[in-house]
Every structure is written in structure tokens, then in C-alpha cells.
């Protein structure tokens, strides 16, 4: 199998790069182990939520120049970054994914615990507020499904009340969910969403019965796993402003977006090797020649260019032993602290140093091994060093924009 570009990793970064490259007329393959961060996502992407000093960011584009030189945004450069940012809504829309929000001003996502988190873009069924002070409505009906433990109504209600809404919580007992409830571990977001493809009507009926003049109704994000049309059906049938707030993972909006991206990539002619993992790489004279995957065995995946988008520790792009942190496929140079005592902060909620570890690249995101750049291997997404994505709140932006920058570079080079 021979392609223009082989992409290792089918998460947000890998699929964004793949779709962009296919649209530019290149032939690509994505090797994807399966689940990725989108399955556990908030349904929103951050561009920049905090400055390096920890100050909250209201206008991401204004504060990006504050980032250090080794940050992926700095490597792209502000003028080009701004142009790439403008392409994002259109690229996602072409995959059938509607996004809200804008890079000029951060919006605020209502989290599953009722707090507000800054967001650049969000999927359509993510409750997004323009400012911290915005009240979602004067009177809110907060609806849960009976027996569903992963939607935290009392936390959400507290947050809404603090911003001036009066909130009433109700619980709907749906006959369609009784089968799910007989098994003690079936009441999870994705299972419920499958039932909701048909049971949404009962939810609408239940909500209508409970409505006492509320102007806003909040539901858990358990609708439209495969097809978002059920969202507008629910919205159109309830005589109030309907918002959706997140649950414990897995994330229904995240999975839907990921599936749509994958479908769009394949429709554009991309090849996916699903459930497969790159296990080794053949290099020759400082260039990657081919990859071996678990499923293809002796049949190599050959390409002129390669993109590493394998993610961080959770996605197994990085791994660690008691004494070192390493990149799992190419043994690329990783930026990390050699003393394990310095990997952690004692307080769980302060930024953990290990989360900042990542692979080193040159300014064009070329991977570096033993101090030398590998000419045809680019690195994108959360495995990138220098991103500080937890501390700065920029994970989604780094994934999407590093992917677009690399895709643009490669298509220019290959054409």
C-alpha cells in the first residue's frame, strides 16, 4: 500500500489533517486504534483559555503573542494561525459538523458540574454562553432521566442559580428505558442515546407535562449519537429554549463529531485502517520509508510523508517507565524531566508537570530524533511538546491548527 501521506492516529488531529489533505487532492491513509480523546471530550475546543501567567484569556487572538517561542502557535506564527483559524468552521461544516463560537472572544461552556469553562468553538448541542454573567434564562427546567447517575443536576442547578436563574429539577421515568435499567451498568450516555433515537418523543411529552412556564429547558447530552437531526426535533417540539449540558464520558456529541469527521474523510477518498496500530517503522537515510502495522503484518504501509498524531499518555503516543518518558513508535526526542520526583504536583488540581511532556520538533513540526530532524515525519496534536495544553487551555486548538498547518505545508511541498 502506497500513499502520499500516512497518518498515524485517528483522533481530532489525525482526522483533521487527513480531511484537509484529501481535499487538497492528496492520497492518504489513517491508521487508527479506535477510540480517541473525542470520545471523552467536552464537545468544545479551546483555543487559549489562560496566559502563561495563569490570567484568564477573553480574546485569544490578542493573547497568543504572549506564548513562548516553542509553543505550536508560535511556530505557526500569528498571521498564518489567524488564516487557519478562519478555515476551521468551513472545514467542519463540510463534514456536516456545525460549530458555534468565535476566535475573537472566548465563550463559556456550562460544564457537567455547573461551572463555566472558556471555549473557542463548540458542537451544536453544547450549552455555550457569551459571557460569565449571562443567565441562561429566567426560569429553567432542568431535566434528568430517572436512574441516570451521570448527569449532575444539583451541581448544574447551583451554577445556574448563581447566575440569576430560578431552577426546578425534574426526573423523567421513561418506559423505553426500563430494559436498560434492569442491568446495573447499562445506564450510560451512549446506551441511552441509542434508545433516544426513538424515545425522544417520550422525553418531549414528559417535559411538556412538567413545564410550568419555564423559558428554558436543559437536557443531558444523550441525543443524536449518529445523527444530529433528533436534536432539532427535540428543540422544535418543546415550547422553550432547549439547551444540552454534558454528562460523564463517553461524550455523545464528541463521538458523533468524530464519526462524521471520519465519514467525511472516507467520502473524500481517504483510507482508514481501523482497529490497527503501527508497531514499527523503517527508516533510511534520515527518512521514514514505511510502517508495519499489527493487522497488516508483512505488508508495509509506504508513503512519501508521514504524520504522527498518536496523542499523549492516554492515547499511548507517549509512555513511561519509572526512569524515563518515551515516544512509542519512533523513539523520538521527548522533552521531559529526568527526575521522576519532578513529574508530579501533590495537589491533583494544580498543573501536573508530566502533562507538559511532549516530543520535540523543529519550527515546521518535523520530528526530532537524537537531535536530528526527520525530514518527512511531522508531528501534530497532543503529543507535541511545548503546548502546555492543560495549563493554557489550548488542546483542541493545538490539535486542529497544527494539523491544518502541516496539511498545508505538505500539499505545497508535494505539488
Amino acid at each position: 500500500m502506497k500513499f502520499d501521506v500516512a497518518i498515524i492516529g485517528g483522533g481530532l488531529a489525525g482526522l483533521t489533517a487527513g480531511l484537509s489533505l484529501q481535499k487538497r487532492g492528496l492520497s492518504t491513509v489513517i491508521i487508527s486504534a479506535g477510540q480517541n480523546a473525542m470520545h471523552f471530550s467536552s464537545g468544545a475546543f479551546e483555543l487559549l483559555s489562560r496566559t502563561p501567567d495563569g490570567m484568564p484569556v477573553d480574546s485569544p487572538l490578542e493573547d497568543i503573542p504572549l506564548l513562548p517561542g516553542d509553543h505550536p502557535y508560535s511556530k505557526i506564527g500569528l498571521p498564518r494561525l489567524t488564516a487557519l483559524i478562519d478555515q476551521v468552521p468551513q472545514l467542519f461544516a463540510s463534514a456536516g459538523i456545525k460549530l458555534q463560537g468565535h476566535a475573537l472572544r472566548n465563550s463559556f461552556r456550562i460544564t457537567p458540574t455547573g461551572t463555566l469553562k472558556r471555549a473557542w468553538l463548540a458542537l451544536e448541542d453544547v450549552a455555550l454562553l457569551p459571557t460569565v454573567e449571562t443567565s441562561v434564562g429566567r426560569k429553567v427546567l432542568l431535566v434528568n432521566l430517572a436512574g441516570y447517575p451521570d448527569f449532575f443536576t444539583s451541581f448544574i442547578a447551583e451554577g445556574l442559580e448563581a447566575r440569576g436563574s430560578s431552577v426546578r429539577i425534574c426526573s423523567l421515568k421513561l418506559p423505553e428505558m426500563e430494559t436498560l435499567r434492569t442491568s446495573p451498568s447499562e445506564m450510560r450516555s451512549v446506551n441511552i442515546a441509542r434508545v433516544m433515537d426513538t424515545a425522544w418523543k417520550s422525553v418531549v411529552d414528559g417535559v411538556k407535562l412538567h413545564l410550568r412556564g419555564e423559558d428554558t429547558v436543559i437536557l443531558p447530552q444523550v441525543f443524536g449519537l449518529k445523527d444530529e437531526s433528533v436534536l432539532s426535533l427535540v428543540r422544535g417540539s418543546i415550547p422553550a429554549n432547549v439547551l444540552f449540558v454534558g454528562t460523564m464520558p463517553p461524550s455523545v456529541p464528541g463521538i458523533r463529531a468524530q464519526m462524521k469527521q471520519k465519514a467525511a474523510y472516507e467520502n473524500a477518498g481517504g483510507t482508514t485502517l481501523m482497529g490497527d496500530t503501527a508497531v514499527s517503522a523503517v527508516l533510511d537515510g534520515g527518512r521514514v520509508v514505511s510502517l508495519r502495522t499489527r493487522n497488516l503484518g508483512d505488508h508495509p504501509v509506504e508513503a512519501g510523508q508521514f504524520i504522527l498524531a498518536t496523542g499523549g499518555f492516554f492515547s499511548k503516543g507517549l509512555s513511561s517507565t519509572p526512569s524515563r518518558v518515551y515516544e512509542t513508535l519512533f523513539s523520538l526526542d521527548v522533552d521531559y524531566d529526568a527526575d521522576r520526583n519532578n513529574w508530579y504536583a501533590y495537589d491533583f488540581f494544580t498543573p501536573q508537570p508530566y502533562l507538559d511532556f511532549g516530543v520535540k520538533t523543529d519550527n515546521s513540526f518535523r520530528a526530532v530524533r537524537d537531535g536530528e530532524a526527520i525530514e518527512n515525519l511531522r508531528v501534530i496534536g497532543s503529543i507535541l511538546g511545548g503546548a502546555h495544553s492543560f495549563k493554557l487551555g489550548c488542546g483542541g486548538g493545538v490539535a486542529i491548527l497544527s494539523a491544518l498547518a502541516v496539511a498545508e505545508d505538505l500539499s505545497n511541498e508535494l505539488k
Partner: protein, 533 residues
């Protein structure tokens, strides 16, 4: 001040296993009992050990008295605390680098102490316990087992209350009420309200473990204690089904104990200053030692995911005639401070170990009764604890037979006969909140309703929520939602969830590499980013 309401026969300081068992024994002998604990139950050494139901074999060669005490208490706990005990049996293995001639002396000492020790063929040992180091050259089978110390402590506390004892958790002793050479009672600070109250009793018992050193000092007497930190590791799988020990003189990291769905290797032993007793930390060196020594018992240890590291502080006591502390005893020490120091109304019970808590409590209750002129025999060795009445799990399971079997088995094994009291009637109560440990909504509600749960860590001690492979990643938030509902205070529940996650992380951090670091990153992602805590 309502003095009548605050008057007791005996006040017990400390909510570990010793205090809980003393409260039970005193209450069963008809005394009016108050127990005060500055945190939650089982927060000290009680909750920070192997959970080993010692046969006593470990001490047979070096300390005959302790060995005999252990085997006697071992047999008693199998009867009175059946729902806390897992009768796994244990092996003492000899490795090629050990001296095989020690084995004969070991068996002889065990038999002399009343411990049924039996040499078995190493090949049989491998058949009985496939995880054991296959290069063993000798094996002895002994009646070791495992015991859930949280459950045991909670059951003692519950029974004390059923016999009329009053229990005040999150109440810290700030001073003694003293008249001349007599202790009349205590003044305690209620951490929930910030208010101080006085409580009176004829006798005050210091059962505060290593913190008993400070309690004694507060009363104006000196008890020569030596804090010894012991670190342990919990593995994510129950790789062994029998306890595995080394057949040699007791040393570091030579006991591997299976417990519930996990197993535990320990321990190290380091003297530490008193200031470090709160918040002991496990060091990388200790982790490395535990893994390398543990792998000698069961090689799979080297490749099994570690779930947590934790450390406890043993309350070792020096003999009264040895202020240097060189002659440290792990035996039971009961000090009548009237006889010893001329301080009336004050008794200290310390030393000993989890295994001998009941005997310690029998001794101290005998002392209290003697001083009060009460003539009642101890019955704690015969009366089963709540949850271990004479009904088998199967019978209990039958009474909740409509419940899915996972929930049924988990609840019955955790709560014993008391599982029958849990409301598991509908699928709402059967829903699993903690998937790793299979804790149902009904069991959590029962704990919140009747087991004095004020926060998530308390809930964990009583139900095992958050103790499994995911380390609270999924269930922490669910349980916080339930607590918020029960207490009506979401702000507190949110703060509580944050401290619960930090507490969980504290145990992950010393071993956070490989899969644990992977899980750590995921948990960070979910809690900091997605949930926005």
C-alpha cells in the same frame, strides 16, 4: 451545660480498630461509653496495613507470645467477623538464597505456639498457588488469611452503638478536665461546628494509636512511643489467592496478601519523627524496594499494574525500663496511669496489632471494669459482630435474590447479613455507582443513611467506592452527586469531590508511570477539563 447528657462511665479516645473494639467491649459489659475520634473511623494504622489475618507464624520464631496471641485471635475473628475475613490460607516459602534449615525451626516454633504449620512439597505449593515464585525450594502452609480492616472497624463501631455507646466522629480532644491528680473528662472540638464541649467520665481510655503519645502528653504523662512508618503497594489484580510470606526472619516487603479484587505487598519499616505522622509519604526508594522484593514472592508483581502506594505509622512502644527505645515491643501495652504515674482516671492501651485488637480491648476493658468495680466477663470472643451472625452468604443472597448477582455478591460479601437490610428493591437502587467494586446505589444510600458518612472519603472506607482499578475516576463524581442530594449542600459536595480526587492522587503519585500515568492523564482530562472542577 447539660452535665447529665455529657456524663459517661468511660470515654475512649480514638476511632481506629482498638478504640472501636474497646467501645464495643465496654458497652457490652453495660458501661455508658463515649468514643471520640478527630477524623473518621480507621484513618490511622487501622486502615493502612496489609489487611493480613496473621496466623502468628511470622512471629513464631522471634516472639512466641505474639504468635500465640495471633493464632488465638485469628480463630476468634473467623467466627465473630466472618464477613470481614477471607480464609485464604498462607504459604511461607524458602527461596534458593534463603537458608532451608530455618524451615524446620520455623515449623517447630509454629507448632509450639499452636499454629497448624505443615511442610508441603514445593511442587504442590505451585499447584495450590500458581503465582508463587517457581524457583522455591521449600514451602510451609499456615492458616493465614486476609481481613478487611475498614469493615472490621465499622462493624465494631456499629455494634458498640447497638449496645448503647455514643460515637462522636470529627471531634478532637483539645484538653483534659483535671482536678488535682484525677482526670475527670475531656474537652473536645467539633470540627463540623467549631464548637468545644466538655464530656465527663470516671475513666478515660487513650486508644489513639501513634497519636496516643500526644494524648498522653496532653494528660501530663509520658508514654515512650516510636513512630515507625510502613509503606505498602496495592496491585490492580488479585494475582495470588493465598497469602505468600518468606520463610526467614521477618524483613522488608516479604508479605503478599490477596484482598477483595487486589493484592498488597508490604512493608518497609522506617523510624520517623512525630511531626511526620500526619501525612506520611511513600518515597521512590521504598516503591523500588517493594517491587523488587515482592517479585521474589510472586514474579508477576514486576509486571502487574500498581494501583496505589500508601503508608501507615505503627505505634511501637518502648519498655518502661528502656527509654532508649532499643528494646521495642510489638506486644500489647496497657498502662494504668494511676499505678504508673499517680494519675487517676486515665488508662492507655497501645502496642499490639490489628490481629490482636480484640484481646487488647479485653485487657483494657478488664482494667476499666476493675477500676470501676464492675464485675462482668468479656463476651466479645463469642458474640458475632453485626453482619456475621450465623447465616451464610448464600442465605443472605437468597433474601436479595432478585438483585443482579454482581450486586448481590458484592453487597453480601461487604456487609454480611446486613446486606439484607439494604434497599435493593428496584432497578434504581441496583444501579451500579462504582463499577470496579460493584457498589450499588442502594448500598451507598444505606451507608449515607446509617453509617455516619460526612464526605466521600468516609464513604470509601465504608463501601469501597473509588478503591478499584479506576481509582474514583468515574464513581467519585457520581457519589458526590448522591452526597449533594443527601446533604443538600452542593458547594460542600463539590469541595469534597476535589479533596477526594486529591486524596486518590496522593496514593497514585509515587507509582505514576506506565499505565498509572496513563490513567492519571485521563482522570486529569475528565475532571479538570470536561467536568470543569
Amino acid at each position: 451545660m447539660d452535665s447529665k447528657r455529657n456524663e459517661f462511665d468511660v470515654i475512649i479516645i480514638g476511632g481506629g480498630i482498638t478504640g472501636a473494639g474497646a467501645a464495643r467491649d465496654c458497652a457490652m459489659r453495660g458501661l455508658r461509653v463515649l468514643l471520640v475520634e478527630r477524623h473518621d473511623i480507621a484513618t490511622g494504622a487501622t486502615g493502612r496495613n496489609h489487611g493480613l489475618l496473621h496466623s502468628g507464624a511470622r512471629y513464631a520464631v522471634t516472639d512466641r507470645e505474639s504468635a500465640t496471641e495471633c493464632i488465638e485471635e485469628n480463630m476468634i475473628l473467623r467466627r465473630i467477623a466472618a464477613h470481614c475475613v477471607d480464609e485464604t490460607d498462607g504459604l511461607f516459602i524458602t527461596l534458593p538464597e534463603d537458608d532451608l534449615s530455618y524451615q524446620a525451626r520455623f515449623i517447630e516454633s509454629c507448632l509450639a505456639a499452636g499454629i497448624a504449620a505443615e511442610a508441603i512439597d514445593p511442587k504442590d505449593a505451585i499447584r495450590m498457588e500458581p503465582s508463587v515464585n517457581p524457583s522455591l525450594i521449600g514451602a510451609v502452609k499456615v492458616p493465614d488469611g486476609s481481613v478487611d480492616p475498614f469493615r472490621l472497624c465499622a462493624a465494631n463501631m456499629l455494634d458498640a452503638k447497638l449496645h448503647g455507646a455514643k460515637v462522636l466522629l470529627y471531634h478532637e480532644v483539645v484538653s483534659f478536665i483535671r482536678e488535682g491528680d484525677t482526670i475527670l473528662g475531656i474537652e473536645a472540638l467539633d470540627h463540623a461546628t467549631g464548637l468545644k464541649s466538655k464530656y465527663y467520665a470516671s475513666i478515660t481510655v487513650n486508644a489513639a494509636g501513634i497519636w496516643g503519645h500526644g494524648i498522653a502528653a496532653l494528660a501530663g504523662v509520658n508514654v515512650g512511643m516510636f513512630p515507625a512508618k510502613g509503606s505498602l503497594l496495592i496491585f490492580a489484580h488479585r494475582i495470588n489467592s493465598m497469602v505468600i510470606n518468606r520463610c526467614r526472619k521477618p524483613a522488608n516487603a516479604d508479605i503478599l496478601v490477596p484482598g477483595d479484587t487486589v493484592c498488597v505487598i508490604g512493608t518497609t519499616s522506617t523510624k520517623i519523627p512525630f511531626e511526620e505522622c500526619d501525612g506520611v509519604k511513600v518515597t521512590p526508594d521504598e516503591v523500588d524496594l517493594l517491587i523488587s522484593e515482592g517479585a521474589k514472592l510472586a514474579p508477576a508483581i514486576a509486571t502487574t499494574r500498581i494501583l496505589r502506594a500508601y503508608a501507615g505509622v505503627r505505634p511501637l512502644v518502648s519498655a518502661d525500663n528502656d527509654p532508649s527505645g532499643r528494646n521495642i515491643s510489638r506486644g500489647i501495652v496497657c498502662l494504668d496511669h494511676e499505678e504508673r504515674d499517680g494519675l487517676k482516671g486515665f488508662v492507655t492501651i497501645t502496642g499490639g496489632k490489628l490481629m490482636t485488637y480484640r484481646l487488647m480491648d479485653e485487657i483494657v476493658t478488664d482494667t476499666v471494669c476493675r477500676k470501676l468495680g464492675v464485675d462482668k466477663k468479656c463476651t466479645t470472643a463469642d458474640e458475632p459482630l453485626p453482619g456475621s451472625e450465623e447465616k451464610s452468604y448464600e442465605q443472605v443472597a437468597k433474601s436479595i435474590w432478585t438483585v443482579p448477582t454482581t450486586v448481590q455478591k458484592a453487597s453480601a460479601s461487604r456487609m454480611g447479613t446486613r446486606a439484607a437490610e439494604i434497599d435493593l428493591r428496584s432497578n434504581k437502587e441496583q444501579a451500579l455507582i462504582c463499577e470496579c467494586e460493584e457498589v450499588s446505589l442502594g448500598e451507598i444510600n444505606a451507608a449515607i443513611d446509617s453509617m455516619e458518612v460526612t464526605n466521600l472519603v468516609d464513604l470509601r472506607r465504608r463501601t469501597r467506592v473509588g478503591m478499584g482499578t479506576c481509582q474514583g475516576e468515574l464513581c467519585g463524581c457520581r457519589a458526590a452527586g448522591l452526597l449533594a442530594k443527601a446533604t443538600g449542600c452542593t458547594r460542600k459536595a463539590r469541595e469534597d469531590l476535589c479533596s477526594f480526587m486529591t486524596e486518590r492522587w496522593k496514593g497514585n503519585l509515587p507509582i505514576a508511570w506506565g499505565e498509572t500515568l496513563r490513567e492519571g492523564e485521563y482522570t486529569q482530562w475528565v475532571y479538570n477539563h470536561v467536568l470543569g472542577l
